[in-house]
């Protein structure tokens, strides 16, 4: 792998993950019927898993 880890690429990766995480957390909040702290915690962790999968999927496709 010859890709260098410049601050710019790190920033882009973090930005992509954060954008996915925020969008998926919003999706979770739309899906559920009532909101309380435990729901926030579970939703945020699920959205984090989703964000990681989104990034892994995009990399697996474009990385050839």
């Amino acid at each position: 792998m010859d890709r260098r880890t410049t601050p710019r690429t790190v920033l882009l990766v973090v930005g992509e993950l954060l954008a996915w995480w925020a969008a998926l957390t919003l999706l979770w909040l739309v899906l559920i019927s009532s909101v309380y702290p435990l729901e926030w915690i579970v939703g945020a962790s699920v959205a984090a898993a989703g964000a990681l999968l989104a990034r892994a999927g995009r990399r697996a496709v474009s990385w050839r």
């Binding site: 999706l27 739309v30 019927s33």
Partner: protein, 150 residues
Amino acid sequence: MNGWVLAATVELAGGGAAALWGVTTGPTARRVVAQNLTTAALCPALLLLAQGYGRPSYVDLALLLALLGPVGTLVFARLLHEDLEGQRPSAWGLTYAVAAMGAVVVAAVCAATGPGRAMVKLLVIGALLVGGNLIASRALSGAFRGVRGG
């Protein structure tokens, strides 16, 4: 029986019978198109049923169908693309008509629900349904032409 369940019955009878007829007769190209339109015809029926029974949790069924139905069509588009070569299976008029009907149903159910998170959930389902349906139709009409073997 309230109006919502009646509308769902009509939709189920019409869409289901048409889909069943299309998927059991004719060349393979017509059958995959009918399989694709099943999702678009029956998902609004599930939404209407949820509204008619007054059970918001039944909306999850429509959510999963809107999510998984187009994926099922992608399976056929991918694994049957050699059979479909040269047939260009597409029925864009019908696809747009069914998509518009789905949008109308989602709008009606949204209007009955009133603003709130439940309405956003219905809109998400509508977007997944219409978007997924159009993409699946696109996939059937030759998106996998560059695929060999795998």
